[in-house]
């Protein structure tokens, strides 16, 4: 028990200390977080009318980010899986960083849920016992798997850090089953999120069985992109060294997941447009516009160019093996997928509406600020978690205080 309180105290005092760069970064994030709190207040006094959502297009930027970030959370498995199933040396050293990323992503997802709800004050209605918990509803399953994933990652991640901190051995009987469960669980969170929208015949654009695998491939491309970026920043700014072999394995995963994702996009376009039924109207709106409404068209083509370009760059050994150039395709793929799977997937599902109404969606400043604020909050948490994890992995925080760490 005393060890535990010392762990908490050491952890907190370590992550709070930092250089000017650290404080400046955190202050910028904090400014955005304050902005987010203000618009959240607005949303819960004026109502969702301050957003661009309507009764026609009632899921917007928040839902798009929610879907995307569930993918990022699931993407952490691209580290855990090679580390524990293939015993990849380089990956094994950084597994815990992936778990920290998953934790921050799930926290962001939860915050987007709060932003999305019309009555966040009533979310307790969803809790078992005090409320009503419906497993008929896909959303009920989504909450279950997301909370489970958060818990699994928090337990695995912090247990591992705890053993490093105290210098004990990892209890494999307890630890390994949890790791294997978390690997399968990572797939489940994104599968269920795909089911959330693909089980609605009312929305033909989403109503196909390709959705889960498409979600997973894009997730396993976008997640590792963010992880590589984080690894490169860590390598250059901290004492921790992430091995090239780990990064190279991640680029391989990204390349082929991105390739499959593009292939699936191509399949969808051919299938929908060959027959060109009214069910293809959503996709048509996205790609070419409908009834003169073309707001998402440049975004779609932009995303496609980014993804194809990133795929081509990842295929070039001179780019993917060059740690200076590698961030370029990573950023491209990340942004491309964010557009394609976020706004590019969620919004056209509502256009046209089930009765044929064609309207457009314009996110308002409130929504943009809220989104930025939640991302900032996520990065705030991620920075703290990564800093603490790196401190422990490097042995800078150790049981026995500063004296033990100095040795």
């Amino acid at each position: 028990m005393q060890q535990l309180t010392r762990f908490a105290a050491d952890y907190v005092s370590y992550v709070l200390k930092g250089g000017t760069k650290f404080y400046a970064w955190m202050a910028c994030l904090a400014a955005l977080i304050i902005g987010m709190m203000y618009v959240f207040y607005l949303q819960n006094t004026d109502g969702l009318i301050v957003t661009g959502m309507t009764s026609q297009i009632h899921d917007g930027l928040y839902f798009a980010n929610l879907v995307f970030l569930v993918g990022v959370a699931a993407g952490a498995v691209t580290i855990v899986f090679p580390a524990y199933v293939y015993h990849h040396e380089g990956m094994h050293k950084v597994t815990v960083l992936g778990e920290m990323l998953a934790i921050s992503a799930v926290i962001m997802v939860t915050m987007f849920v709060f932003a999305h709800m019309g009555r966040p004050d009533r979310l307790w209605h969803m809790m078992p016992i005090i409320g009503i918990y419906s497993l008929n509803a896909m959303l009920g399953w989504d909450v279950l798997v997301l909370m489970g994933y958060l818990l699994l990652n928090a337990i695995c991640g912090f247990y591992y850090l705890w053993t490093k901190y105290t210098g004990r051995e990892v209890n494999k009987k307890f630890f390994m089953p949890l790791v294997y469960i978390s690997i399968v669980w990572a797939l489940s969170i994104h599968t269920v999120t795909a089911f959330l929208i693909s089980t609605m015949p009312a929305r033909p654009m989403w109503f196909h069985s390709m959705m889960p695998i498409r979600f997973i491939t894009t997730a396993f491309a976008a997640g590792p992109c963010l992880i590589i970026l984080a690894f490169l920043i860590i390598r250059n700014n901290t004492k921790m060294w992430v091995e090239d072999s780990a990064i190279k394995l991640l680029t391989t995963i990204i390349t082929w997941c991105l390739g499959i994702a593009l292939f699936l996009t191509m399949s969808e376009i051919v299938v929908e447009f060959y027959a060109r039924t009214e069910h293809a109207n959503g996709l048509y709106y996205l790609m070419f516009g409908l009834h003169g409404l073309t707001r998402l068209v440049p975004w779609f083509w932009g995303a496609l160019i980014l993804m194809v370009g990133a795929f081509a760059l990842f295929l070039m050994p001179s780019v993917r093996n060059n740690m200076k150039l590698l961030p370029i395709p990573c950023v491209m793929a990340f942004c491309g997928i964010w557009i394609e799977k976020g706004m590019g997937l969620v919004v056209p599902g509502f256009i046209p509406s089930p009765i044929g109404e064609v309207t457009e969606y314009y996110p308002t400043f409130v929504e943009v600020l809220m989104t930025l604020g939640i991302w900032a909050f996520g990065f705030f948490i991620l920075t703290i978690l990564l800093k603490g994890a790196i401190g422990i992995l490097q042995g800078e925080i150790k049981y026995g205080g500063a004296a033990a760490a100095a040795k």
């Binding site: 006094t45 004026d46 109502g47 969702l48 009318i49 957003t51 959502m53 309507t54 009764s55 026609q56 009632h58 899921d59 999305h116 709800m117 019309g118 009555r119 966040p120 004050d121 009533r122 979310l123 209605h125 969803m126 409320g131 009503i132 918990y133 419906s134 008929n136 509803a137 896909m138 959303l139 009920g140 909450v143 959330l196 929208i197 089980t199 609605m200 015949p201 009312a202 929305r203 447009f273 060109r276 009214e278 109207n281 009834h291 599902g349 509502f350 046209p352 509406s353 089930p354 009765i355 044929g356 109404e357 064609v358 309207t359």
Partner: protein, 367 residues
């Protein structure tokens, strides 16, 4: 459309000519007077009231407008159970609490009915698409009856019934060069329909000088009260459910505003209250039902419930009563002699999007 058109005024004159069906009990005399006083002074005061209310909203969370009783009622409402799980006493308590609060807020005696489904009743609806003239009186009567929000901003204007205006397509010699489909596809010559059923938002709010228009047909839709409602299945808190006598209802106090039901509905029957509904005191209909037309709050979903406050008391829904051509029929599907049952037995009937297996209890027919 124009706010000063006072929708319920028309039906009061007309049912004798066209709507032969409504019995004497279906009489709108109880409240149409509410729409009469439309003095500019009142609307000015109203506008001022709204303005000060919205500016107070921010600071006013702690300064409860009408004292502690109000706060206590809000508190109790916030922590009450799902309506279906309430005991009879709890339901009655909730009813009294709401009646007190609404009566104070709207400055007139408001009743909140909690009558449950009656045995031997399964409500059904039938609409004669050939008769509909697209006058949209049903839309306005519905808004007046069911206390929908009627503000100025787009998100504040809620209508449960949509009358779709479909353009008639035509084949003609001069269109031979402009094939259909437009843009993509094989040019087959001739020009039939502009993609039917797919129109811009503005076309739902068509304002012709006279209806019916020569080049249009009309297709009114609202909640289909499905027997297998997809909206009910996706609700994570089971706040929306099918009542034993047919209608799919919402416990507004339990809804979390996640809008999954809106995504699942193939008929676009559901609306979200993006902000606190704009419901002027004078226009508020004080005859309400707990699961029906009682005033809603910000952030919850609402929809047609076949006027539970009327139909559970043996009256017709407002849209049936107001229809000047008698296109709308309502009745008990379990009674073989009801109008709806007779229509099902004798007419050509169809359901919208029947392929989705939602089994609507809203039927379309033509003579």
């Amino acid at each position: 459309m124009n706010a000063n058109e006072t929708p319920p005024a028309n039906p009061a004159k007309e049912p004798s000519s066209e709507c032969l069906a409504p019995p004497a009990s279906a009489d709108p005399a109880a409240y149409p007077a509410a729409s009469a006083p439309t003095t500019s002074r009142r609307s000015f005061l109203k506008a001022g009231g709204m303005l000060s209310l919205s500016s107070l909203m921010g600071a006013g969370a702690l300064m409860t407008q009408s004292g502690e009783a109000h706060a206590a009622a809000e508190w109790a409402e916030h922590f009450q159970k799902n309506y279906r799980l309430m005991t009879a006493e709890e339901k009655d308590e909730a009813r009294k609490r709401l009646e007190r609060r609404y009566s104070r807020e709207y400055e007139k005696p408001v009743t909140v009915d909690i009558t449950g489904p009656q045995p031997g009743v399964l409500m059904g609806y039938a609409l004669n698409v050939r008769k509909c003239i697209g006058c949209r009186r049903c839309v306005k009567a519905c808004v007046a009856e069911n206390n929908q929000s009627r503000g100025e901003r787009p998100g504040e204007r809620i209508e449960w019934i949509q009358v779709l205006r479909m353009e008639r397509g035509e084949f003609s010699q001069d269109k031979m060069d402009h094939g259909y489909p437009e843009g993509l596809g094989i040019q087959v010559g001739g020009n039939a329909y502009t993609p039917a059923g797919q129109v811009l938002e503005g076309q739902y709010h068509y304002a012709p000088e006279a209806v019916p228009e020569k080049d249009a047909t009309y297709m009114p839709i609202a909640c289909m009260q499905c027997e297998k409602p997809p909206c009910v299945k996706v609700c994570p808190v089971r706040t929306t459910y099918r009542e034993a006598d047919g209608p799919v209802v919402i416990d507004y106090n339990w809804c979390i505003g996640c809008r999954m039901c809106m995504g699942a509905c193939p008929y676009w029957a559901r609306r979200i209250n993006l902000t606190t509904p704009v419901l002027p005191k004078a226009e508020m209909n004080p005859v309400t039902h707990y699961l029906g037309n009682r005033p809603r709050m910000r952030g919850v979903v609402e929809k047609c419930h076949w006027c539970l406050q009327r139909t559970r008391q043996g009256r017709y829904p407002a849209c049936v009563e107001v229809c000047p051509v008698g296109a709308r029929k309502f009745g008990n599907l379990l009674d073989p002699n009801s109008e709806v049952s007779l229509i099902l037995a004798r007419k050509n009937v169809f359901r919208l999007k029947a392929e989705l297996n939602t089994f609507p209890k809203f039927f379309y027919f033509y003579d």
